[in-house]
């Protein structure tokens, strides 16, 4: 159920996600400029300190605005859309160009994530290399060549969707998901990378493993990276992996 704000030709639409959530849509494809808008919108709405909002959830192309289930007098849908339209006014006038995205990129943090790509961890490297017509070394080289953007966190606490990788790393998900992947597994699909923060099932192609803990519910900022961050994967040896892992566990 989509509706355009009556007052402007703003480059987004609203849709209701039930009577306690509104989704603002900024586009329909994976694009840093579109994703940056969702994050900027989250910041503007957060700063407005509306008492009935419980969560702002940026995704690839949208922002979820959730109302608290126990707020006694939530605004009507139209009233909420008018309020949000007013808050987002500064975004309506900035154009949707690359400059905008680059400005955001410059401000982004660079997070370095050590990854061990040895075959005992990178169990799908051979399959990926065969599928992409590359050597295993080339796959690793392309995966570590440049930082990737964190588009969103979802699926599990602290799990980021990062991309986009080099076009030569184009591979879909595995036809049969695995029932169990160990925490820290680094996986690729559709030119994106995820790292599974906990032991979990998963259908992506495993290239390696990080010894870092990605999510700690007791220590802010909880997740190692946030939407908008740039992430650089650094190659480490099995020995370095074990050393970092041992240190991480001591701290826990």
């Amino acid at each position: 159920m989509s509706s355009h704000p009556a007052s402007s030709s703003a480059p987004w639409t609203f849709s209701s996600e039930g009577d306690h959530c509104v989704i603002i849509r900024f586009g329909d494809q994976i694009d840093p400029a579109i994703n940056a808008r969702a994050r900027q919108a989250a910041e503007l709405i957060h700063n407005a300190q509306l008492p009935y909002i419980s969560d702002l959830v940026p995704t690839f192309t949208t922002l979820g605005v959730c109302l608290h289930p126990f707020y006694p007098q939530p605004p009507a849908h139209k009233e909420l859309i008018n309020t949000l339209t007013e808050i987002l006014a500064p975004l309506a006038h900035s154009d949707n160009s690359r400059d905008n995205a680059d400005a955001v990129t410059e401000a982004a943090r660079l997070i370095r994530i050590p990854v061990c790509y040895e075959p005992s961890f990178g169990i799908d490297l051979d399959d990926i290399a065969r599928h992409c017509g590359l050597t295993v070394e080339e796959v690793i080289q392309l995966h570590t060549a440049a930082p990737v953007r964190v588009f969103m966190l979802g699926f599990a606490p602290g799990m980021g969707y990062m991309g986009l990788s080099d076009e030569r790393l184009a591979i879909g998900r595995r036809s049969t998901p695995r029932k169990h992947l160990p925490a820290g597994s680094v996986a690729i699909a559709n030119r994106q990378t995820v790292i599974y923060p906990n032991d979990s099932p998963g259908g992506w192609n495993i290239v390696g493993a990080t010894p870092l803990r990605l999510f700690d519910p007791h220590t802010p900022p909880y997740a190692r990276y946030a939407p908008g961050d740039q992430v650089q994967f650094d190659i480490i040896s099995r020995q370095e992996y074990e050393q970092i892992k041992a240190r991480t566990e001591t701290i826990r």
Binding site: E17, G18, G64, P74, F155, P157
Partner: protein
Amino acid sequence: MRSEEETGLLVLKPGPLSVFQDAGRHGYQAYGAPVCGIMDQVAFRLANALVGNRTLLPVLEMTLSGPQIKFMQDACIAVCGAAFSLECDGRPIALNRPHLIRAGQVLIIGSTPVSHNSPQGQARATLAIAGGIQLNTAMESASTDLKSRMGGFHGRALTKEDRLTLNRKLSATAVDALAHFLDQFRIYLPAGLGLGARHHIRVTRGAHWTHFTAHQQTAFLNARYTITSSSDRMGYRLDGPSLQTEPGLQILSEPTAFGTIQIPPDGQPIILMADRQTTGGYPKIANVASVDLPVLARCLPGESIQLSLISLNEARTVFLQREALFAQVNQALAPLGTAIEDAFVRST
């Protein structure tokens, strides 16, 4: 042998799935952390009000049947939600009322009695304790996240021999008078709170409603869907007419809500519940109206539900009507809060 010093609660039998939940882990979905929290928000609020808790403290949510708990100290409790059987030292006691359980007594919360006439709405009930229980908090919430093992009682469901510590202690000199007061207190709960069982669930149009043909929309609203056995706190899987969007609809992972009805590739709807993932990539045909989520939370696998479409304005109107009733109930129950608060040993 119970020593003089022994306090708190001892779990003799845990029940199939007894987890502590509060209003939910709000504000952390951007980190990918699910909201979790209570499935039946009406039972949660009412149980807290009945034991005089002025804020919404964590409660024990019990699925299918409840625990057996030995009380090592006096405590005031209430059970709301599904019509589970409730006994204190073998004596039946009433749902939706506050009770004083004495040190040494055993509270047995069973399933819905077999003789009970209604096959509907008997899945979940809620136990609240005056003053609350000491629990683990993660990201500002004591809700148990079973998947990430955080919050609640060590991030897990209760097990045999767990010992729970209460936050507050009732004064030995005040409990007799309090027991008398609680027994005499008259309680009227309006039907509009939504405590009764129903199989009629109201929905609003979902984000991808228009991607389903008129024929599919009609099929969705005219059918009876059965809640399957693979339904839990994360989601209810339904069995009924299969639905498909127009071919080629690609959706990038986007936010979901409590009550989002999504259509996975097999065409059988899934209603996302309290432990849902924060985002999802399946088409979303509809959303359950907030007021009907507690009704759904009490439905058992095997039951069928009938969906009907209402507007967002209607959904808000019925929500506000229920809020007005809650305000009345809270006001009527306010003397309970005062009496129980007065009976607590003053914290120093």
